[in-house]
Symmetry: C2
Subunit: 232 residues, 2 copies
DNA sequence: ACCTGAACACCGTTCAAGT
DNA sequence: ACCTGAACACCGTTCAAGT
């Protein structure tokens, strides 16, 4: 009953529905709607990054005047909230016939979460700064439910959920940022090697040149899960 | 020999040194210098946040014209880099007479790291996006050295370091962001309770109202350290 | 109900000068 | 060597109108 609480459906264009026959995409600009705005925002963010999203540019891309957006949306922040939630829906683990390992379930969901954010590199750094939309809450719920089923004590449940959140956020934000500057990373490692006497350990392990991001993510996640539910 | 490679000392005002007697702070504005600029930037960031730092406002606060900064600094990004590094120096653990537990060493350094960033709430979200300065590298080196001493296998060392980095970054960025909006958090939890049938687990554990940030940080860190160096 | 242009109060940075 | 103001090409958002 409390299903359609979000604003997503309330103001969208009904023009094509009621008085006219549902003219099949009349070739011209199909006029504004929340859905179109959010979709265009995601495209623009993917193409140009966080700084690339500008109300003027967004309107341009939609063939509208800059101020037309403000009828559908309260502020630029709202556009960001909606774009973020749009990008984080979870389809769930693939259904094998058999009941799934709790650990496989958690790993699958978190790797998918990370993958979603890396596909939209602006999203990771944005997520901790904005309100938690329904898609994010659903992921947290799945996490809590699965850990609980795995036997994590009630008193440890919140700490377990947040530690996984923290790990995934930190890993993805870092990965997304460093990705932009392979050049800088190599330069940093070069400087680090020059200064070998100051940083012998991490110069030796070539910390800044380690390229196996996916493997390192999985490995750290295993460390953490080992600690959260030891011996399972 | 490669010690003073950073730009920090190269262009600073020598006015008070050579031709004049070292006039003891002549009451007027002491003119610009990299040090003064960085110090003012940190103050401004602390007071107004990331969006509050503006080249014009920064110059204003220093009693200079807006463009004067650009003689000392290449861009706004450079100001951010320097402010960030200035804020992350590590004094090391307090020296007790006895050799320190490796685990206590790691926990101390990471809790201090987190505390530094929370004292300057703009810093956490900035750190993963910018180059790694010497203070940050020194912390990573300490981490690697300590884990290695604790017996973590060479092959696991980078993964161990990065997983701790990820955890600390995620935790601190999240903490710093949520701090700004207790109101929103309460509202989110209220909505979450209303929608109890959709999110029964995290509604039950009151995930969004959990206020013991320090305790949760420590608990998650213990999970992770248990996984990185099991049984020590 | 939906969209618009002009205007306001800002940005970071380039440039040609000043001292 | 150090600092400056004017100017350029932008921002998000308010407002008073248009249809």
């Amino acid at each position: 009953m409390a299903a359609k609480r979000s604003s997503a459906g309330s103001r969208t264009s009904r023009r094509t529905g009621a008085s006219r026959p549902p003219a099949p995409e009349p070739a011209g600009e199909p006029s504004l709607s929340l859905e179109r705005i959010v979709a265009a925002a995601v495209e623009l963010l993917d193409a140009q990054g966080l700084d690339g999203l500008t109300m003027r540019r967004l309107a341009d891309r939609l063939g509208a005047g800059a101020m037309s957006l403000y009828w559908h949306v309260g502020s630029k922040g709202e556009v960001l909230d909606l774009a973020l939630d749009a990008v984080l829906a979870y389809r769930g683990a693939p259904q094998t016939g058999r009941a799934r390992d709790w650990r496989a379930e958690v790993v699958h969901m978190l790797e998918d979460w990370r993958a979603c954010m890396l596909r939209h590199p602006w999203s990771a750094s944005l997520l901790p700064r904005r309100a938690l939309g329904p898609n994010i809450l659903a992921r947290l719920e799945l996490l809590g439910e699965t850990l609980s089923r795995a036997g994590v004590a009630e008193a440890d449940l919140n700490a377990g959920i947040w530690s996984l959140w923290n790990y995934v956020m930190g890993a993805t934000i870092t990965r997304g940022s460093f990705d932009l500057s392979d050049e800088d990373r190599a330069a940093a490692q070069r400087r680090l090697t020059e200064l070998g006497q100051h940083y012998p350990t991490i110069a030796g392990t070539r910390l800044l040149l380690d390229d196996d991001w996916d493997g390192a993510f999985r490995k750290g996640l295993d460390f953490l899960l080992d600690g959260i539910a030891p011996g399972r």
